[in-house]
């Protein structure tokens, strides 16, 4: 049973043999990079970059719920990106005070 479910996943038209899987999956590395940068000194954070990434995260979170089929992977990674970017921006604002 498990192997037939795995086969269904493996051979899915948006599965791991296709770019439809890897492009949104790799987007998680943007969040990993941002979390790794939580220890960077706040003066090295770029306001424009974090604002742009955060806004695009919010818009893509909406986009992923409007397309057919709904893309929960893209929704979750985009929402997480908005959160990590917001935190980075808050670090820099707190430092500037």
């Amino acid at each position: 049973m498990a192997s037939s479910k795995f086969q269904a996943f493996w051979n899915h038209p948006a599965g791991p043999k296709t770019i439809h899987f890897w492009a949104p999956t790799f987007k998680w590395c943007l969040n990993v990079a941002n979390v790794a940068d939580f220890v960077k000194p706040p003066e090295e954070i770029s306001y424009p970059q974090q604002l742009a990434l955060g806004c695009s995260g919010l818009i893509w979170a909406r986009y992923s719920m409007v397309i057919t089929p709904k893309n929960w992977n893209l929704f979750s990674v985009s929402s997480a990106l908005a959160v990590t970017c917001t935190y980075q921006i808050s670090r820099k604002i707190r430092y500037a005070r």
Binding site: H20, F26, E44, P48, Q49, S56, I59, R62
Partner: protein, 108 residues
């Protein structure tokens, strides 16, 4: 002219759809990075820039393969790839990864 514009307005990847506005939001990332090219390279995050390079390469392919095919997204990520590679080279030069060319000159 107006029929071409109407065709654009009513296109399945046109401005009445999210297939258009998603890539528009991605242009913010590119413009932010272009602004950051004027800042000192010490401010560049190697982590984020390296990941953005791979990310945009993957999404160029994604935009080509997705249906409906999204040329706007493809162009957006191609441009981002160029800016991120430039930023990565600035970061790499600062780290000393691109310093090898000076050696032959020193030997002369």
């Amino acid at each position: 002219m107006s029929s071409a514009f109407k065709a654009f307005l009513n296109s399945p990847v046109g401005p009445k759809t999210t297939h258009f506005w998603g890539p528009v939001s991605n242009w913010g990332i590119i413009l932010a990075s272009v602004a950051d090219t004027q800042k000192p390279p010490e401010m560049i995050s190697g982590n984020m820039t390296g990941v953005l390079c791979v990310y945009s390469a993957l999404f160029v392919r994604f935009a080509w393969m997705v249906r409906p095919r999204n040329y706007f997204l493809m162009v957006t990520h191609s441009c981002n790839e160029c800016v991120q590679l430039y930023q990565l080279s600035r970061w790499a030069r600062l780290q000393g990864f691109l310093g090898k060319k000076k050696e032959p000159e020193a030997q002369e």
